[in-house]
Amino acid sequence: MSKHVTDDLLEPHRQVESGQVEVRPAEVWACLRGVMDPELDESVVDLNFVTRADVDLRNRVHIEFRLPTYWCAANFSFLMADDMRRAVSMLDWVEGVSVVLGEHMYADKINAGLAQGLSFQETFGVEADGDLDDLRRTFLLKAFQRRQVALLNHLTGIGHPPETIVALTLAELDCLPVNDEGARLRRRYLERRDVVGRVRGNFPAFVDAAGSPLKVDGFAAYVSGLRRVGVNAEFNSALCRGLLSVRFDLETPFVPTTRASLSTAEAQQQQSRRP
């Protein structure tokens, strides 16, 4: 993408014909916040990957992002870009979305593929085996497991025995009295519950990766098994955040809300400081 061309169009203050205009960047950021790094199961915004998300005069959205290393897996990189484009395209006023990856070994290739709307397979040709849907599925499943074990530990911790937990339906789980942390964990779990099967109020709240209801027998071993998934994800997240902070001279931990409130000028200034 040619940067100066789009910059000419970035004059949000002239877009005063509708009160909606001002909320549009916030809507974009809200969409991006829902896009996860598939491996870390954390928002690409919270991870501080997204450096720019602007709306131009023609209601086209321009997103730029970068990753913790020059070597981050091409398929994950592509997948995140693809998810960002899909998420932002859901906004009904959006006329187009460009997503550009910076400072990456395959930046040129990935950016060209993204610009042409190609799939990962089409972009990388023979170098890519298997399509991204399998990969997406694998990591959604891990996210489901990680979120489930966090909630199970919480429920066990506040005194619910396995007998009670495995008997809960989705509707009952939804009504279960919990504190703020419990509510957050429950919301996160329920967001991924459909990864392993259909969701209805009278269906069991807790099922395994194959969709079978959890049982009292073997409950502890099941939870131990899932713990690995959570530890792994936390470890990766710590590594990625650390590497990103060194690479781009940022401070950890990040405060993602300030990112969303940066003006375009500040955002550009920040970009120009990067090596």
Binding site: A73, F235, N236, V246
Partner: protein, 347 residues
């Protein structure tokens, strides 16, 4: 050699060290530059501030610096040199067996020199492996299954060609197969992250030991599962260990999961020198205890016995090192002359 306050001697074998040249003069292209910068980011991010090196030193250090960092300032008794060729990025390679062999030649009692192979090199590669093994009496190799080469985006140990190489290794007495299954070294595809191929070959080659470097991170969860089922699969904890400083809580989780799933006899210490140095890693490791809440979950305890195994006894077993005999050799060569000053004694 690490001596505890009580005077117990712990023999340390560093399972993962490099003698690299990542200097601009040796860089072939932008990838070479980015590669050493990525390593430097690991170094900068996870080292205590007092242990940070200048970039220039990090790019290329000399043999004496390495020797001192490992064996004089550091507590290593022996170190395994693991090669990383990267000849597509560096004119003379990054850290070849040939380059490492200079260290081994100067200090034969201190170093174990490992080789490398790539099954995509066909028959020529097999011949090279024979020659390399003959020249250096290899007992181990380091493999990068994720390395992209031309059209290929990596290989699996379970590929037909890999089997040929593993069969050759077995014949040549190369018992220890270190496999890099860890944070990205070259852009990876889905399969390159996968540790499932370890499962396959560990079953097929019962006489070989498979040491999964970086304990499968970022696939610790899958790795633990596989290692539990195979008796000849080990975990190298390079990269996981330095978290002991910046994120001790995460390190506690990782080590306790490893102890829980694969046990203390199958975990190997490695500094990943020159990314990190043994002195501070081992000081922190020896002082480390798994917090009670995590022990409650996993039942894992990092006892003195476990620490001793992880720091040296497990690697000694894999490489056939007689610890007492080796200590005598090192002592006779003056290797412990510095100990009275340099030894650490926890308060």
């Amino acid at each position: 050699m690490y001596r505890t306050a009580k005077g117990e001697e712990i023999f340390v074998i560093d399972g993962h060290t490099h003698f690299w040249d990542g200097s601009p003069a040796n860089q072939k292209n932008i990838h070479g530059k980015q590669f050493i910068e990525c390593f430097y980011a690991y170094h900068s991010n996870l080292s205590p501030p007092s242990e940070k090196w200048e970039k220039e030193k990090f790019e290329k250090y000399d043999a004496k610096t390495m020797f001192d960092d490992l064996f004089v300032a550091g507590y290593d008794d022996m170190a395994i040199l693991q090669p990383t060729y990267l000849t597509d990025f560096y004119k003379n390679g990054f850290n070849t067996t040939e380059r490492n062999s200079a260290m081994k030649k100067s200090h034969p009692d201190r170093f174990i020199l490992n080789g490398a192979f790539d099954p995509r090199d066909g028959n020529k590669g097999l011949e090279d492996l024979h020659a390399l093994s003959e020249k250096h009496k290899l007992k181990g190799v380091k493999l990068y299954t994720a390395e992209w080469r031309g059209e290929s985006k990596g290989y699996k140990l379970s590929d037909k060609d890999s089997y040929k190489y593993l069969e050759a290794a077995q014949k040549l007495g190369i018992k220890n197969i270190h496999v890099h299954k860890g944070p990205t070294i070259i852009p990876l595809n889905r399969d390159a992250f996968d540790v499932a191929d370890i499962d396959d070959v560990a079953t097929s080659f019962q006489d070989l030991n498979f040491i999964v470097e970086h304990c499968g991170l970022p696939r610790l969860d899958d790795f633990c599962w596989i290692a539990t089922q195979e008796t000849n699969v080990y975990a190298g904890i390079a990269v996981a260990l330095p978290f002991i400083h910046s994120r001790p809580g995460y390190f506690a989780h990782v080590i306790s999961e490893l102890l829980f799933w694969i046990g203390p006899d199958k975990i190997l210490y490695g500094s990943d020198y020159g990314i990190w140095t043994p002195k501070w890693l081992i000081d922190k490791f020896m002082a480390f205890e798994i917090p009670a809440d995590i022990t409650k979950e996993t039942g894992s305890v990092l006892t003195m016995e476990n620490k001793t195994k992880i720091l040296g006894l497990n690697a000694a077993r894999l490489y056939g090192i007689d610890v007492e005999a080796q200590k005598k050799k090192i002592k006779a060569g003056g290797g412990y002359a510095h100990l009275s000053e340099a030894v650490h004694a926890p308060a």
